[in-house]
């Protein structure tokens, strides 16, 4: 619905923000590095310099896309869940159980089954804060933050006891999941795994769900104006529960895809706060699925850039983190966009006069 001019402005704004952020980063690098130019090129160019690194970007983007989608769904229904992290653990755990313990069957059935189990696990776990919010009006921020700890500790208990692999070593994990249901490499010789296809599919599904179906219409309406939705006959409480469950399901999917693509089985503490990164992604994307895709790829790119910079120069990883923070802040700086729009509006007006 946006005019092409508005899109140009948006893109222009993002470029301006990236440029400014990089400038800040360069200044930091100039002051702290003895080989600033190597560092800068390692930050910017190395992530794209090899198919291997590009594959790494994709792999890192996969869980971010999924958690970002998960959160964009709840955020749109007006629920500020921070629970993707916990739902992701539960989903991964349940999915991994299905992967390890279900009787042998064709991978074509087994793999989807594993994904579905993970989604159900995440969705059911999401239902808890959803129900508490809808029927008791209990703050979802509190419940989800607390339930994250509960999920991590509970899965930790089970993977250290009942479901511990016999030869798991010093760090508890489940038995390895059979190789034929792990996510294959996208292309031989590239390290990107097929999770990216699942993530892309999820983007499309969530897009259709949110913007093309009646459920999406209900979800968004409840988020925008709950009174209005209720007045129109929408069962707002049910919608809230459903939205948190959909979100939990996608978060669970994020968890199992990370397991099947990277870790090969459920490992304690496997997620480095992917659920929280998802919040940033969803906010950066202003809750739009396509935006989530772009934001997640961008986020993965700067994370890989931070790594390549650390590998390829004398910059410690913390400086890379600081640059990453600057990038996130400036890209989401609305003021830059408003400024551009006003400039544009002014010049546009002059032209009319």
């Amino acid at each position: 619905m946006k005019s092409s001019r508005a899109i140009y402005l948006e893109v222009g704004g993002i470029l301006a923000a990236v440029f400014t952020a990089l400038l800040c980063g360069f200044i930091v690098i100039l002051f702290t590095s003895s080989e600033p130019f190597t560092a800068i090129s390692a930050l910017l160019l190395d992530p794209l310099s090899s198919t291997f690194n590009i594959g790494t970007i994709l792999n890192k983007a996969v869980p971010l896309i999924l958690t970002g989608l998960a959160l964009s769904v709840v955020f749109q229904s007006g629920v500020f869940s921070m629970g993707a992290e916990g739902q992701l653990y539960i989903g991964a755990f349940v999915g991994a159980l299905a992967g390890v313990y279900l009787p042998v069957m064709s991978p074509w059935i087994h793999m989807p089954l594993v994904l579905i189990c993970a989604m159900i696990g995440g969705a059911l776990y999401g239902a808890i804060p959803g129900l508490l919010k809808a029927y008791l009006n209990a703050s979802e921020i509190v419940t989800t933050l607390m339930l994250n700890f509960v999920a991590i500790l509970t899965t930790s208990y089970f993977v250290n006891n009942q479901f511990k692999a016999a030869n798991g070593g010093g760090y508890a994990r489940m038995e390895n999941i059979s190789k034929d249901i792990l996510l294959p490499k996208l292309f031989p010789g590239m390290n990107a795994h097929a999770g990216i296809l699942i993530a892309l599919l999820a983007v499309v599904v969530v897009y259709l769900l949110m913007y093309k179906t009646s459920i999406g219409y209900e979800l968004r309406l409840v988020g925008k104006n709950g009174h209005f939705a209720r007045y129109g006959g929408i069962a707002t409480r049910k919608v809230i529960v459903v939205s948190v469950m959909i979100s939990g399901g996608i978060a669970g999917l994020a968890g199992i895809v990370e397991i099947l693509g990277i870790h090969q089985t459920f490992k304690e503490n496997f997620s480095a706060s992917l659920g929280f990164d998802g919040i940033i992604i969803a906010l950066l994307a202003r809750n739009h699925p396509i935006g989530v895709l772009i934001a997640a790829l961008f986020y993965a790119y700067i994370q890989v850039g931070a790594q390549t910079m650390q590998f390829g120069s004398d910059m410690p990883r913390e400086v890379a983190v600081i640059i990453q923070v600057m990038l996130v802040l400036l890209v989401s700086a609305q003021a830059i966009f408003t400024y551009l729009k006003q400039r544009y509006a002014k010049t546009g007006q002059k032209a009319v006069k």
Binding site: T56, L153, N167, G170
Partner: protein
């Protein structure tokens, strides 16, 4: 994290099979013409003042004394990054030796080593056998913890130590309730009970490896509510809080992985060491000379100098003679095999 270490499957006593050592001589060693360019990959971050730092010290020593080139890269706390990070380093072709460790990296290392046969891997704290370009070392932390447990049992009723009380209670503070930490705990308990069957071991976990205030609080709770008077803290940075708490209470503690005695002299009576630095230095030195037995694993226990208690001048100064004598005795028995320690892994 603390002492990120451990053996995956094989039990320590069987892992080094002599038959395989013969293959070592055929294994291509870095030609003397090609200088060693090593990469040390930390699958976490430096600064644990124990395990990873210790390895780093070994590398730095090798740089200084052997003249090798080396770079250290921190892989960060996100386990999902490690495989890709290490591979991107290896595939760059800039390094011919990779130093890396912990059981969390063993699958990744096996996979990489098979695909990059020209690169040599020095792997620590886990067994990798039969891969021709990997040499691995395993530290027997249960043996080391056995010593710590025996020491604590001797200390808790000692009349010469002012802070010790008559109750036979000793403490164990772990970072998390996970197998590797519980291997420390198991060795600790075996050691304590070897000295005195009636010694009670109080074990608690902090829940992570960074929350020093909580580590301190848990240590204090053991001291206050259970009358523990010596605490073995196996919790990386969070464990420092435990040591501080013991010091404040005027009781004792045992450090871990590196020599932590100087942190609170007189309170940290000793530390359970994993001599990661020396073993890595030694491995690099052997590699340079072409004598490293690639393709094999070595278990470094008490006898091999892989683990032990930190005995510095502070130890001499603060630990009563009787306990030191007794410890000597136990160490000898461990070396000779009169005592065997079971690993819980």
């Amino acid at each position: 994290a603390c002492g990120k270490s451990n053996n995956n499957s094989a039990s320590p006593s069987t892992s080094s099979s002599p038959s395989e050592t013969s293959s070592a001589s055929e294994t291509p060693v870095t030609p003397s013409g090609e200088p060693i360019s090593a990469i040390y990959f930390v699958n976490s971050m430096l600064g644990d003042k124990s395990f990873f730092d210790s390895a780093q010290a070994g590398i730095q020593k090798a740089v200084k004394e052997l003249g090798i080139k080396a770079k250290t890269v921190e892989g960060g706390s996100n386990a999902a990054d490690w495989a890709a990070s290490l591979e991107s380093l290896v595939s760059s072709g800039n390094y011919n030796v990779v130093v890396v460790g912990t059981s969390q990296m063993s699958d990744i290392t096996k996979d990489l080593a098979a695909r990059y046969p020209k690169v040599n891997f020095i792997f620590f704290d886990e067994v990798i056998e039969g891969v021709p370009n990997v040499y691995s070392m395993l530290y027997s932390q249960s043996e080391g913890s056995f010593l710590a447990g025996a020491f604590a049992a001797l200390a808790t009723t000692s009349t010469e130590l002012k802070g010790a009380n008559p109750e036979k209670v000793i403490g164990f503070v772990g970072g998390m309730d996970i197998p590797i930490i519980n291997d420390f705990k198991s060795g600790y308990e075996q050691g304590a009970h070897y000295v005195d069957k009636d010694v009670k071991v109080v074990a608690s976990y902090i829940g992570d490896f960074v929350n020093a205030p909580k580590g301190k609080e848990i240590g204090l709770a053991q001291i206050n509510s259970q009358k523990a008077d010596i605490v073995f803290s196996v919790a990386s940075a969070a464990g420092l809080g435990t040591l501080e708490g013991a010091n404040e209470k005027g009781v004792y503690s045992i450090g871990v992985d590196a020599n932590q005695n100087p942190l609170y002299p007189g309170s940290v009576l000793t530390s359970m060491l994993k001599n990661v630095d020396q073993s890595i230095f030694r491995a690099i030195e052997l590699l340079q000379k072409g004598e490293l037995k690639l393709g094999t694993n070595e278990v470094l226990g008490m006898k091999e100098g892989g683990v032990g208690l930190a005995k510095d001048e502070l130890y001499e100064k603060y630990v009563p003679q009787s306990i030191r004598d007794k410890m000597k005795e136990i160490e000898d028995k461990l070396s000779t095999g009169d005592i065997t320690v079971k690993s819980s892994l």
